[in-house]
Every structure is written in C-alpha cells, then in structure tokens.
C-alpha cells in the first residue's frame, strides 16, 4: 500500500501563507532570502544540478574509456558502435557484441579538418580543441576528470549534505526559528553559487578547464595551462583555484553557522544527549570543515602565487619540463601541497559520510519503529571519528618515499579510525534487528546504504597498509573503493533524505511507485559500475589512462570491463529520470502530506507543513530523547520530542520570532551568538596561518641557505609597537562603550584606525624598498672575477651550494643589455662605504628585484605579510564603518554596539597575535 496513505495520520491543516515571511518582495523571499529553509532549497536545487553536470562529465569519460578514439556524435549511434585500440596488445572481445577488437593506430578518429564546421554538440559547446571531430582530446579528458571530482565533491555532495539538509533540517530539529546568522547563511549560498559559476566558466577560457586532477598536484598544476598571450590568473588551473577559494569561504561561513545554531539555539529541554543523531553528524562535520579547509585555502593561495607571481612554494630547484629547465627560484617542495591538500581531503571524506550516516540513522529509526541501538556509542564514535580523521591524511602519500616511522604512524591511525566507523555501521545494522520494518522508499535507500557503505569501508582496509597500497595506489581499485563510499553510499543517503523530508518541505508526498522505479535500477547499476573496478584495479589498471588501458599489455584481460561499466553508467543516467519526474511532478500531483506523515518523533515534525517563517507556531519544549518509538504502555508506537506531542497549534506562542541570544549570553554557554561565531572564525584563521607557517618551515628546512638580514628590523619593531598600541586603544574603545561614554569610545576607535593605517603605511614603505632592492646570482665559474673587489669592500655575498651560485645584493645603479651595476649591501658591522660593482650578465644565472619570485624567503615573506595586511585592511574597513555609522546602533541598543566592538576587537587582537609571530619569524630569525 502507498506509504503516503498508510502513514498519514492526524492532520493539522495550516495555511502556510499566514505564517509566511511578511511584507517581502519576491526577490527577498526566494532569491536573496535569509530564511534557512529557502536557503536550504536553493542549495538542494543548485547542488542537484551540479550533481547532474558532474555525472554527465563522467559519462563522457566513460565513453572515451569504453570506445577510445571514437567520435561521439549522433551518426555514431545510428550504426554499430565499434572499438578502436591504440596499438597492438592482442585482441579483446566485447562482452556485448562479441566483436573482437583489432589493433589499429591511435587515435582512430576520422581525419579531422579544422576548417570544417564542428559536427558535434559537445565540440560546439567546449570548442574544437576539446572534441576535434567529436573525438575527445587528451587534454579535454583530463579536464573532465579534474572537474568531475571537483564538482561532485565540492559543488554537489558536500553542499547537498551540509548546505541543503544542514540548512533545512538541522534548525528544525533543534527547535530554532532560523540559523544563528541568517545573513551569513544567505552569503554562504551565494558565495557557493559564484564559486560554481567560476568553476564551470573555466571550460571556456583558452586552454580549457584545469587538467591536474581534483587533487591538483604540483608541479603539474603549476606549469599547466600557462599560455602565451593569456594572463595566467585567467587560465583554467588558476580559475579552479579561484573557484576553490569561493567554495572554501562558503563552507567556512556555513560551518560557523551550523555550530553556532546547534550550540546556541537549541530548544528548551533539548539537552546535548537528546539531539537527533543527524544534528550530531552536522555538528562534527561542521568542525571538520571549519578546521580542515583553511590549510587547503592557504595552499591554494600559495599555488596561485606560484602560477601568477612566479614563486616556488611547490617548485623544486632544477625542475625539467619538456626537456627544459624551468626558470624559477626553486627550493620548494611538491609534497608540501600534498600534505596541505590531504589534511583537508581526508577529513573531507568524513564530511561526505557523516551527514549521510545521520540521515540514514533518522530514516532507520523511523522505519524500524524502535530506538536506534547504541545512541551514545554512535555519538562518541562520531566524535572520535572526527578527531582521528585529522591524523590519517598521509596514508594517501605512502608512494612519496615516506619513511617507516611516519608511514607506521599513519598506518596505525588509519586502522584506528576504522574502529568508530565499524561501531557506527554496526549500531545501524543492529538497529534493524527486531524492528517492525516498513520498506518505504527512504528506507529502501537507507538499508541499501548499509552494505554499500560497508563494501566501501572494508575495501579501504588494504589501502591503509603501505605494503598493499603501493600496489593498489592510483589504480581503479581506489576509484571503486572511494565511489562505493560516496556514490551508492552517500548518494543513497541523500536520496533517502530527499524522499524522507520532501513532504515536510513541500507539503506533498513523492510517488512511492516512481521512487521504487528509481531505487532498484539505481541499486543494481551502481554495483555494475563500481564492482568491476575492483577487478580492474587489482589487475593493475591505472586510474588516469586516457585510452582506458587499451595500449597496455597488463590490462588486456580486464579492459573489456570498460564497455560494461560505460553501458551501466549510461543506464544509470536513464534510471534517474523517474526521480526527476517524481521530484518535480510531485510538487503538483503528489498526495498532500500531513504534518507528520511518517509518524516520526523529532522536532521538525512538530512544525506546520511546510513550515513558515520562524518555523514553530509555539515554542518547542523537549522532554525526551529523539527516538522514543514503541515505548511500552503508550497508546501509539511513538512519542514526539516536543512536549506538546506534535500538536502544532498547541501551547503558548513563542515570545517572538527573533533569534535569541544576539545581545545577551545564553546561560549555559555564557556566550552571545556573535561571540561564539567570531571565536570559531578565528579558529579557522589559526588553521589558515598554520598552513602558511608549515610552508615557512618546509621552505626554510629545504633551503640550502636561508637569508637573514634582508628586512629592516627597526621598521619591523616599530610596526610591532604600533600594532600592540592599537590593541590597547581598541580595548579602551570597547570599555568606554560599556561605560556608555560614546564620545570617548569614538576617540579610541579613531586612534585604533589611525594606528592601523600607520602600520599599513610603514608596510607600504617596506614593500617599496624591497621592490627597489636587487640581487644577482653569479655563476661559480665566473665568481673569481668579482671575488677580490667584493671581499675588499666587505660586501655581503651568499654562496648557494645546491645551485653553486654566489648571490650579491644591493641597490641597482644601472642596467644594460650586457651588465648591471650594483651598489652592494655590506656585511653587518662593516663600517666602510660601498662602491659600485659592474657585473656582466653573461656571468649571471639570474638577477632581479626582491619580488616574491626572487627567492623562497621573499615568497613566504610577501605571502605571510600580504595575508596579514589583507586582514588588517578588513579590520580597518569594519572599524571605519562603526566609527561613521555606529551611533545609530548605539542609540537603539548600546550593549549590542558594545558587543559588536568586542567581536571586532577579538578579530583585531588576533591580527596582532599573528604579527607577534610574524615579526620574529621573518625579521629576527
């Protein structure tokens, strides 16, 4: 029987219109909305579109892998599909057609005439260079691979889990009227949206989208897409980095909001151990995003510096590309990127899993009609999982020549992290035992999730050990493992969540028939796609082969699976059509949903359907746990968390629909919302600077000589004094406002701003000095010509043993095509006047001003201080805003204005704190 009819019970009809946000334009209500539910729906629809785009990219890739070199146009489909192989490795037989693959030269496409109009839609869309004659070019294949991973992870799955479900469901489950910071929430969505648009736009810049994989490993990612006559900042890889910066920013805003909402806006009586498991999963996930993303942001900034400013954070000395030495200062290390990337990307795996587990937990509890088994174990396991996920990242790097000490550490932590994963999965499986299971569509997806996630998890164990990982690394085994976790794993959880909460969000039930028509083919085809990948991977098939392994002898017995997988992938695409019809069609034709159609217990089902602005018609008060199903002695098999038992029109109305604790502290946390928010933001800032400081340590340890004395220490000391002073004036401004002395507060605020500006002025002078200071690297064999005169003067000369170069620095007096004239810097304590030295350019390996690209030292100096300066400018702008416009808020609510100053002050002190480390690290050591 139809779940929607069997499960529907007491209907509290409400007119959502009466509960809607009053007096708002359509634009404010549906586009630039600050209502968490609208933002959640925006995330949902946008991320589903990206999911489809990312999936389509995969289909194109699978075409190329199944039928390499074949033109992808409609003509092809009219005739028989045939396989071309690149060179003779023996014959392979198609599993479908029985046709024997004949070796032939690669590529096997028809002769391509660039003068002819592009015959295929894809060629027209992505340009002739991408699909010449309908045949996928290798570069385009690489772009699709990189963008498939990027889009699926950062633009589809994570936004669906945290942006859509996190936004829509979590505030309802904690009984909040909205997210803690609604405007920040809106900003988070639009930053994500812009990031997505930027990412996709990279397909249309010359050279196409990024080609270095979703991991963007340097040095490939630094040297790729560098086109003549096209600015590097607008090339595909750089645009990828810019897009990532937007997406990371969006994630950070979202995670601050999620943590604050759960901590500050929980309903009365909703103690921590009464939270639904989905809320816990969002809480831990938000922490992972908050602390793991910033190091990647710092890495992205450094990679952008490498690409655009010519620095060498990730570029080693003497790198040869295409037979030529790359002319960069060198001294960097590609492994630094890998550390910073995987420091995010492994916790990111749990970001992809935990909310999915949360959704599945809700669905299982509801559809087994019994409490989740081991609720506390689940919660603590999730916390432990989140914590340890920060300690396992380098198991992705066993192949980099890692020593036994470090690899043992990461092998141990990787095995340890499997313990909480198994606890969670076991708890969910045991929860099925003895339940009165209802196989609704959400439950089908949720139960299917369990074995799929189990297969994904168990196949990860061999990858935890370096001995087996060395063989399996970069093979299709890894692809199969990862996708079992995320595709039939997390995506099934997402589908379960959509089918489960769709009635609450729309007021309509989705069709169970179409749901089952969606589920079964999807379930079967997912396995058809990913299971053969284990076979291919164990057979040694590499994950990045453009021809799918046709040209490799070792792959000849497994390459035929490419066609099987390709067909299954195409059918999987068709299997999503019932879902699309169901999703949109049910809005109009779906059966009307009651307030609690699944007879569920948690707070979101105590709202009207769909919930209006402010969510609850009465203040939700919680007096029990989240999964009170089949409690003995009750008249029905569930008890709702809300004390009013889900009667949405019962109880006293809430005090107002405003968000609480915006000015005064919540008693149990002792914090008002913004104060918690700024501390969380600062925590992410700590991780951002930790990423760059890690780079400093790597560069310094990797350098053959680390320069000292290039910076003006007196100037640095002066700036330290200025910044410390500004911290005090900032505090005085806040304290004066607490005394309600507005004029005094304004004066101190002005002093803070002026001190900030003074700091920037001094910094500008320092930068200018550096840009007018030069250095030349004299070749070892030529140095004898200059040795006597330089030594006689007491000039400061630095020998670089790794590159065998002598470095002389000083002021540039003159430069011609043949020589430069330097007024050299003298050694510290040398009392004489410097004399000019003529240096022939023929004797010089490279020379230039102290720009970031000059050396590793200046790369890190400008990056660290530049980031610091950007923070300072941001602080000044906000303080200036308060200086000029703060009086209005002060008149309305002086304590609110004092809070705002306190929050800004915390940021300002943090900027000071960073400088306290920058000054000694850069100027003194």
């Amino acid at each position: 029987m139809d779940a929607s009819t069997t499960l529907a019970h007491d209907s509290h009809s409400h007119n959502p219109g009466t509960h809607a946000h009053p007096h708002q334009s359509w634009l404010r209500q549906y586009v630039f909305s600050i209502d968490h539910k609208v933002v959640g729906m925006q995330y949902l629809v946008t991320a589903l579109v990206f999911l489809l785009i990312g999936f389509s990219f995969m289909l194109l890739m699978r075409w190329q892998l199944a039928y390499p070199g074949q033109s992808l146009n409609w003509e092809r489909f009219k005739g028989n599909i045939s396989i071309s192989v690149s060179n003779g490795v023996g014959s392979v037989t198609s599993v479908f057609t029985g046709r024997e693959f004949k070796p032939q030269p690669f590529p096997a496409a028809a002769p391509y005439d660039p003068a002819k109009p592009e015959p295929t839609l894809l060629g027209k869309l992505f340009g002739k260079a991408s699909m010449p004659g309908g045949v996928m070019a290798p570069d385009f294949y690489n772009s699709l691979g990189a963008m498939h991973g990027t889009i699926m992870v950062f633009l589809a799955i994570v936004p669906l889990l945290t942006g859509a479900f996190g936004n829509y469901v979590m505030p309802l489950q904690v009984g909040a009227p909205d997210m803690c910071f609604p405007k920040l929430n809106m900003m988070s969505y639009w930053t994500y949206f812009v990031g997505g648009v930027v990412m996709l736009s990279s397909f249309f810049v010359p050279g196409g989208a990024a080609k270095s994989g979703w991991t963007s490993y340097p040095p490939l990612s630094v040297v790729s897409d560098q086109l003549p006559n096209w600015p590097s900042i607008l090339s595909g890889q750089s645009v990828w980095i810019l897009g990532m910066v937007f997406l990371i920013t969006s994630s950070l805003l979202g995670s601050v909001n999620i943590i604050c909402t759960i901590t500050q806006l929980r309903a009365r009586g909703l103690k921590w151990m009464r939270l639904p498991f989905f809320v816990w999963s969002q809480f831990v996930t938000a922490f992972l995003l908050l602390l793991a993303f910033p190091p990647l942001e710092s890495a992205a900034i450094m990679q952008l510096m490498d690409r655009v400013a010519g620095t060498s954070f990730f570029m080693p000395s003497g790198l040869v590309v295409g037979g030529n030495i790359v002319h960069v200062s060198g001294g960097g290390t590609p492994l630094l990127w890998q550390h910073l990337f995987w420091f995010l990307a492994h916790p990111e795996v749990y970001v992809l899993i935990l909310p999915g587990l949360g959704i599945v937990c809700e669905v299982i509890a509801n559809n087994t009609r019994k409490p989740i088994w081991g609720y506390k174990s689940l919660v603590f396991a999730t916390f432990f999982l989140g914590f340890v996920s920060f300690l396992v990242w380098a198991h992705h790097m066993y192949l980099t020549g890692m020593g036994t000490v470090v690899s043992s550490f990461f092998q141990a932590t990787t095995i340890i992290i499997s313990v909480p994963s198994v606890i969670i999965l076991t708890a969910l499986v045991i929860s099925l035992w003895g339940g009165s299971i209802r196989f609704t569509v959400p439950m089908l997806f949720a139960t299917a999730f369990l074995p799929m996630f189990g297969i994904g998890g168990l196949t990860g164990i061999p990858l935890a050990f370096s001995a087996t990982d060395l063989y399996l690394h970069d093979t299709y085994y890894v692809i199969g493992h990862f996708h079992y976790v995320v595709a039939p794993g997390t995506i099934f959880a997402i589908f379960a969540g959509i089918y489960f909460w769709y009635p609450k969000a729309t007021g309509r039930m989705m069709s169970p028939f179409l749901g089952k028509l969606h589920f079964w083919p999807t379930f079967i085809l997912m396995n058809c796609i990913f299971m053969p990948m284990f076979l291919q991977g164990m057979g040694g098939m590499h994950r990045r082969w453009y021809d799918g392994g046709q040209s490799w002898e070792l792959a000849k017995n497994i390459v035929h699976w490419n066609e099987f997988i390709g067909v299954a992938a195409f059918l999987l695409f068709l299997a999503q059509i019932p879902f699309i019809i169901n999703f949109f069609g049910s809005l109009k034709w779906g059966a009307k949903a009651t307030d609690n159609p699944w007879e569920s217990t948690t707070l979101e089902w105590s709202t009207p359907t769909p919930p209006g602005h402010g969510n609850f018609l009465h203040e939700p008060i919680v007096d029990k746990g989240p999964y009170e199903y089949s409690v003995p002695g009750m008249t029905r098999d569930y008890a709702m968390q809300d004390i009013n038992d889900g009667k949405t029109d019962a109880g006293p109305p809430p005090h107002d629909m405003e968000i609480p604790y915006t000015v005064h502290a919540r008693p149990d946390t002792g914090l008002y919302n913004a104060k918690l928010g700024i501390w969380l933001f600062l925590a992410s800032e700590v991780m951002l600077f930790a990423g760059v400081f890690s780079a400093y340590v790597f560069l310094r340890l990797g350098a053959d000589v680390w320069p000292r004395g290039y910076l003006n220490t007196w100037m640095g000391l002066f700036n330290t004094t200025v910044l410390i002073s500004s911290s005090i004036t900032m505090l005085m401004s806040w304290a004066s406002l607490k005394m309600r002395n507005f004029q005094s507060s304004q004066r101190w605020l002005l002093a803070t701003i002026l001190l900030g500006v003074l700091f920037l002025g001094v910094k500008a002078k320092e930068y200018s000095d550096k840009f007018h200071h030069y250095g030349a690297f004299i070749k070892q064999e030529s140095y004898s010509k200059y040795k006597n005169v330089l030594e006689a003067e007491g000039a400061r000369v630095t020998y670089h043993p790794e590159t065998k170069l002598y470095e002389v620095t000083g002021h540039l007096e003159k430069s011609t095509a043949e020589e430069i004239v330097l007024l050299p810097d003298l050694k510290r304590g040398v009392p004489t006047e410097a004399k000019e030295v003529d240096i022939a350019l023929a004797d010089v390996e490279r020379w230039g001003a102290f720009y970031p690209k000059y050396s590793s030292f200046f790369a890190i100096y400008f990056t660290l201080t530049g980031l610091h300066v950007l923070h300072l400018i941001g602080g000044i702008v906000v303080l200036a805003y308060f200086y000029f416009f703060g009086s209005r808020i002060y008149r309305q609510n002086p304590e609110h204005q004092a809070n705002r100053l306190e929050v800004c002050g915390l940021f300002w002190h943090f900027v000071d704190l960073v400088w306290i480390f920058l000054f000694p690290v850069l100027y003194l050591l």
Partner: protein, 118 residues
C-alpha cells in the same frame, strides 16, 4: 570584560553602564600592564637578534618569548580569562590540530626513504 557583567535587558535600563567604575578602572590598569609587558617582551626578542646570541638559542628563546606574548594577548586582551569552557575546548582542539599539521608534516619531511628525496 565578562559576560556576567552584562545586564539583564528586562531589569536594567539599556543605556545604563554595563561596567562599574571599579571594573572599568581594573580593566584599564590591566590593559596598561599588558601593553607594557608586550612591549618589553618585543624588545627582549629584538635584543636576542641585536646581540647575536647564536641562531640555535635565538630560535628557541625568541619563539618562547613570542609564545608568552601570545598567551598574554589571549588571556587578557582577548579575555579568555574568565571565559567559559566552550571557547576553551574549541581553541584547544584548534591548537592541537594546527600543531599536528605542522609537526607531523615536519616529521614526514625528515623521515624519508633514502634516495627518494632531494
């Protein structure tokens, strides 16, 4: 500053001071003391550089001084003193993870299979 000094909006005139004069004076005295301490510690770091005490010692001592400055900044200027557990737990966790990021990657830098790294 302390949140306990925040008045209840229902019971107190919102334009009335939310610090007593005594609290204000205590704050100012504290701030000036911290200001002086931070300046002195900066000068100490500077002196290590100026008198060239040797790079090894200089690195250790300068970083210790910077850590002391950071402690003063966090405890007094950023008001962690008297702050409840929520913030402190978050910050301790952040400190642990940032230390792990830097130290473990540093360990990986040194612990390599011979011949695989430059």
């Amino acid at each position: 500053m302390s949140d306990h000094s925040t008045p209840n909006p229902e019971s107190v005139d919102r334009h009335a001071p939310s610090l007593t004069q005594q609290e204000f004076n205590d704050h100012v005295r504290n701030y000036l003391a911290i200001f002086g301490s931070l300046l002195v510690l900066s000068l100490v770091s500077f002196a290590f550089w100026y008198f060239q005490i040797g790079l090894g010692w200089q690195i250790v001592l300068t970083l210790l001084v910077a850590s002391a400055q950071a402690f003063l900044n966090l405890r007094y200027l950023m008001h962690l003193k008297g702050q409840g557990g929520t913030i402190k737990y978050f910050l301790i966790m952040t400190a642990v993870f940032s230390a792990v990021l830097m130290l473990v990657s540093l360990l990986a830098f040194f612990n390599t299979i011979p011949g695989t790294h430059h």
